[in-house]
Symmetry: C2
Subunit: 339 residues, 2 copies
């Protein structure tokens, strides 16, 4: 390669590459987004306005429900229909040693020659809101570069993983029959975020009974998913309708075309909801994460200044109380921003 380029120039090159279909450039952009490097901001500023056309589908459920198998089946069926699809798999294990990355490679192998399939693992990072914001940014990138659908696959165990799936346009909650006395998805509180409920492993005994239980449960609780986010008051449009309950056998592909039809119906039902609850949740997660990053950067810069050190010394000597000092430091950060 040539001499080192500026961050903006490198971001422009990667962005142009990704928009032009260069999968390697796309992968590098997603790495920048995930690691919040300096490349992320200029790239997302360019790409974000181009996003908003893809159907973002969250897929979550208890471990063992068959999420990965269903995602593979969905990819196959969507490709048969000529639709492009990207997958963001949120991986709670290490990005290096975790099993999911290996799984990705295996899955990718099947589509190595297909530019209309893209699969990516994201590590489930610790810091609050981090997962939602990086996943939101990654889906925006994949949306902007033109994928018809972006599937966000998460394990429905941690609260933040569930929130990530729930921030999709359409959230699919998976359940397998015979996973215990109780329907697992109900136990985990997953039904609340479901737009579609899928009982997978439909060839196992008990699938029909599990589906019937779920349908009864959804009638009893009044249907439409509610309580999607704590600040749902800002987005008080009702969810379109009571979640459908479908049965699939992902391993054989049975029921998968019907699931895709249901996804399309749900998408049509929310069409025009530009700022619907899920999109608002994705936007909020990204914006507040950036606000947090910027404030942290400014405070860090402030902490290194001689004036700050003097102020802290005054507090250490008990000549200034810590509240007065905090206000001084805040005023300086503010002054910097206005400058």
């Amino acid at each position: 390669m040539g001499e080192p380029a500026s961050v903006d120039a490198r971001a422009d090159a990667l962005t142009a590459g990704a928009l032009g279909g260069d999968r390697r450039a796309l992968a590098r952009l997603l790495t920048a987004v995930e690691n919040r490097t300096a490349l992320a901001e200029p790239a997302l500023r360019t790409l974000y306005p181009k996003a908003g056309r893809a159907h973002i589908v969250g897929i979550t459920g208890p471990p063992g429900a068959g999420k990965s198998t269903l995602v593979s089946a969905l990819i196959g069926e969507l490709r048969t229909a000529g639709r492009s699809v990207a997958v963001v798999a949120v991986d709670p294990s290490s990005p290096i040693t975790g099993g999911a990355l290996l799984g990705d490679r295996v899955r990718m192998q099947a589509y190595a020659d297909d530019d209309d399939v893209f699969i990516r693992s994201m590590a489930a990072r610790g810091h609050a809101g981090g997962l939602a914001s990086t996943t939101g940014a990654a889906t925006a990138v994949l949306d902007a570069v033109g994928f018809d659908l972006v599937l966000v696959e998460t394990v429905g165990t941690g609260q933040s993983e569930v929130e990530v799936a729930a921030a999709a346009d359409t959230t699919v909650v998976l359940e397998a029959p015979e996973m215990g006395d109780e329907v697992q998805a109900i136990k985990a509180g997953l039904l609340e975020v479901a737009d579609l409920v899928v009982v997978n492993k439909g060839d196992k005994p008990g699938a029909q009974r599990t589906a019937a239980q779920l349908r009864a449960m959804l009638v009893a609780t009044g249907g439409p998913a509610v309580g999607r986010r704590a600040d749902a008051d800002s987005v008080d449009r009702p969810r379109p309708k009571r979640p459908e309950v479908l049965i699939t056998t992902a391993a054989t592909g049975e029921g998968v075309p019907e699931l895709i039809a249901a996804l399309d119906r749900h998408r049509a039902s929310i069409a025009g909801m530009d700022a619907g609850p899920a999109r608002l949740a994705r936007a909020e997660a990204q914006v507040w994460a950036i606000v947090g990053d910027r404030l942290r950067d400014q405070l860090h810069a402030e902490a290194l200044r001689a004036t700050t050190k003097r102020t802290l010394s005054e507090v250490a000597a008990h000549r200034l109380d810590p509240y007065a000092a905090a206000d001084e430091l805040l005023a300086r950060v503010v002054g910097d921003r206005s400058a």
Copy 2:
């Protein structure tokens, strides 16, 4: 009690009470500090300038080294000498069900009629910097109300607990003989923060050998504690001298007067270090925690505004990128502060 008073009036009453020797008022102030209630700010603003006279002593070490027994022995010996003493015990277990609170009650019982002893547990809270800032504020309160010594007792296992002890004027690292093949305090990296090293349970076989090992280790590593904080460059005065290694048998009181003499010597050696590394560390922890709280409050208020909701809707509709939105929100927070 009379009609509800304002926060400031209640803070003033509690502060005046605590300064006047009312232990119940002092306990309530410490609860306000620990829970960061609205009472904490006015109370600390009044009390902080009165602090800076007490000798703050951190006591840390691996579990089983006998910290609580040593603290009890120190209290007894200090009281014999007519000196008042407060203890802040950082309790990593639950504040309600944890064993340490019960331990406190038992320990308090012995001094129920002695106004010059005060013992308090603090829960080790999760959020970053939280423990250091609340412990720092609590020691400032106990210092301001006139205790001669404030002992901060922490288990030397978690990084934050060690930092809290290390932010004392004098840090005592405890070790017991025969705790394993290796000296535990060395394994845990505790020696780096020690101003004094105490081998407790001096009546056990191996105490002399452990002390000798520690002395050899301290000579080998060049003596004075270093690397006390990551940002130690701001406070680059050398630690006064290589840590002394003492032997105590806290259960019988043996060696405790010598430990107190060593504490006094260390204190004398740092006299005049108004803004020494430990005091600066305590001040920093408190100030940055307050800065964080204030920014969080402002962002929370901003999040509830109609203008913010409109901005986020624009992002959700992909008409505005999340970076531009973040800058808009930050500018509004800044505007509020300047107003």
